[in-house]
């Protein structure tokens, strides 16, 4: 019988909502950071133009070459920033606030997740609400771990925004009380298969964000190239948010996106295999084109396509980035739409 007062489950739910609120604040801080980077970028550019004018006065350097070396230097600097070790990172105040808030939100998030698991007496990923709870937690965890290696704080607003929306949405729409597990879910494969699937989602999310930035950066680079030698040179048409100037080149973003995508792809391949083993135990066949199986397969093939595209002439660059974006859209679709509306054997959303 439920005890009076707050149950573990209620506390978990409160922690989750607190985490959502903190992530929302982190999102704002990161967004301010990006806006301020734009300012910095503009200032840096003005300074560069002054230097350029001085230089042009004396030496026989054409403005065009100066611009070119300028852009290259900017890109190299951005790449160095990206790979700078922890101690030597740029001191973006608002990004720091954003990261601190993200860590704080993450602590609440972990608390909520763990309490949910304790309340249920099992791993906290056995229905849609719990998938979202643990999946978003892994996204933040992977993001924070990756921050040790790369300065990806410019993805902070994307990550915290995504997580706040999904976690908040799940708490609103998917939340269900703890119920005992249905028999087919009582399996070690629930622990492994679902966890690894969520983990790969986290890597796909990072790859997706980088691919989007890659496309924006790509557009900006083209516009900048097209503007060289025209009247617009000084002030090229607006081609995307100006914080892009502080980010690495489209090519560097692409190779980073690829690195995350292949890690995600490996985990996804494992998910596919582990799922088949489980299906063979639970349903008596390892593969049956059940709706969820179809979508797992579609996602796998899409990312295989993405990896191929990167090795195919004419598909590297923007086109392959689109495949990464389509792939991640399929991941989200698989989680939200397929779980909720498609009928199949994987009826574990806990929603009716």
């Amino acid at each position: 019988m439920p005890a009076p007062g707050l149950s573990l489950e209620d506390v978990s739910f409160l922690l989750v909502w607190t985490a959502v609120a903190i992530y929302a604040l982190a999102f704002i801080a990161y967004a301010i950071d990006l806006a301020r980077r734009s300012d910095l970028a503009v200032k840096a550019k003005d300074a560069a133009r002054d230097r350029e004018l001085v230089a042009a006065g004396g030496a026989a350097v054409t403005a065009e070459t100066a611009r070119y070396t300028d852009v290259r230097a900017q890109e190299a600097a951005a790449l160095a920033d990206l790979e700078a070790p922890l101690g030597q990172r740029k001191r973006y105040l608002w990004a720091r606030i954003g990261t601190s808030l993200t860590v704080l939100g993450f602590l609440f998030h972990v608390g909520g997740d763990v309490l949910r698991g304790i309340a249920a007496g099992r791993v906290p990923w056995a229905n849609n609400y719990e998938f979202a709870l643990t999946g978003t937690m892994l996204i933040v965890a992977v993001f924070l771990v990756v921050l040790f290696r790369y300065d990806l704080r410019f993805l902070g607003s994307f990550i915290t925004g995504l997580v706040a929306v999904f976690l908040g949405g799940a708490a609103l729409a998917f939340h269900v009380d703890v119920t005992p597990l249905a028999d087919p879910l009582k399996s070690v494969w629930l622990v492994i298969h679902v966890f690894v699937a969520s983990l790969s989602t986290a890597f796909f999310a990072l790859a997706f964000a980088l691919s989007v930035l890659q496309l924006l950066q790509h557009r900006r680079e083209w516009a900048a190239l097209a503007a060289v030698g025209t009247d617009e040179e000084g002030a090229p048409r607006r081609s995307g948010p100006s914080f892009l100037r502080t980010l690495p080149s489209a090519e560097a973003l692409e190779s980073l996106a690829y690195r995350f995508a292949i890690i995600g792809f490996i985990f996804w391949t494992f998910t596919l295999i582990a799922g088949s083993i489980w299906a063979n135990d639970a349903w008596g066949r390892y593969w049956g084109f059940d709706t969820k199986e179809v979508w797992t397969f579609v996602i796998w093939v899409l990312y295989a396509g993405y990896i191929h595209a990167r090795a195919t002439r004419g598909w590297r660059g923007a086109r392959s980035a689109w495949l990464s974006i389509v792939g991640f859209s399929a991941v989200i679709f698989n989680f939200v739409v397929v779980n909720m509306f498609f009928k199949g054997l994987h009826a574990y959303s806990g929603l009716s």
Partner: protein, 560 residues
Amino acid sequence: MDDAGAGDDERDARTGIAQPRLGLVGWLRWGWRQLTSMRTALVLLLLLAIAAIPGSIVPQRSADPNGVTQWRTDNPDLFPILDGLQLFDVYTSVWFSAIYLLLFLSLIGCVIPRTTHHWRAMRARPPRTPVRLSRLDDHIETVMPVPGGATAADAAREAVASAEAHLRKAGYRVERYDSEAKGRVPASFSVSAERGYLRETGNLVFHGALVGVLISVGIGGGLTYTGQTVIVEGDSFVNSVGIGYTSFNPGRFVDVDGLPPYALTLDRFDVSYVPAGQAGQGQAGDFAAHLTVAEPGRADRDGVVRVNHPLDIEGDRIYLMGNGYAPTITVRNADGDVVFREDVAFLPQSSTMTSLGVVKIPDGLPQQMGLVGFFYPTVTPTHSGALSSMYPDLVKPLLTLDVYVGDLGINDGTPRNVYALDTSEMTQLTGRQIDVDSLELEPGQTAELPDGLGTVTFENAQNDGAPGVVKRYVSLSVHRDVGAPFVLAFAILALAGLLAALFVPRRRMWVKATPDGADVRLEYAGLARGEDPAIATAVADLARAHGASLPAPPDDAKVD
């Protein structure tokens, strides 16, 4: 990009040019080249992804036959069109098959030449050191003073020898390319090293293993069978197509008469329900079918089938697919002779196990008789006065029966669904529809049939030795899948290949020493082959480690 990939590009480029007058062989060759190009592979992959989607939207005959029937009822006009497009059998359709077969043809055509190419590359020596290493992206140059008492050439030779040892220890395959001074050309000493052949090996293993998966699925499918059966507590099943199965689907090459001989007896079926008042009330779980397995020449043994834990017998796997109640019903005619006595499996209609069952009595009564029964394990009246079950366990069991007499429609010998009664040629004697109370029976009770036809008894199964007052039954599925272990093995091989292909760096390294007056110029350079984010670090590490091991440490490195 790998060698083979580059080869593809070249091929792509060549095929882009219109070639005059192709003979049949020429056209075939052209078609083959198109098919095995990277671009075709990519397009086919994307097509495969798209083509798989409709099968998740429209119900499939293989996974959800009832859904297909329902769809047909709901959309009678659209159905023939979609059916013509094979949209209810997407994964065996002509168009889906065409895509994946072409893809695998492309795959094979791609992998074979790459395998021979790789085979040769693995046995070739690392390539000659480029003349101007400084042209490479990752390049470091240092200057080492020649130690006293040595010539510059000796110092250079020695430095390269130590670099060679270094690289070999780091897993590189190495080759020395030294040239003595000749006329005006100065002497130069260098080692060329290459590592990461495993990357391409992994790639080939991965793609090859995919072919293995497909073949295992294809061949395995022909040798695979699945069969369904229902066993009531106390009853047995014999593994033989004619006797034991309610349905049986063999693959093309299955010897239907050669099934392994064994028999299963259901001793007991266990299930637990979440008690009323708790979250998930009435949810069933911990299903366990306790069986006795009898095999010729062996002592009987116990076996348990649970969800997620099938029972393995002689290469067959037995799965628990469903369960329900099987009330024992006895019908006697007006003279008191037993005309029917059976455990009748009732189909559950809800999670609270309100169940539906049918009894057909063709002989022994003046007219053929059919009974349509509802069984409620925990009966409770609803607002409308109809009955329902509020809990799935046997708390207050009740059986209701509607009686029909007339023609059962089974005389012509065509098989009928045992769970449905065709009442078109029958007269209803009890039931709400005709305002006559249905017969209501608790276990152990007997009721009179209308019109003095006789009696019907709902037996208390415990008198029969069953664990509960009503027997339970399980539906089991028997599977043999010969291909599955191979599919799994190839899938794991593919995963292993993938790990190597994506994470083993393939790179070439060179260390070159050139005597230069009183100094030796040392150059370190690396070239990534395929994705290799760490190449710059690798070159820098090599330069540092090698520099530190030299007798006369060089000056600060110049990186460019």
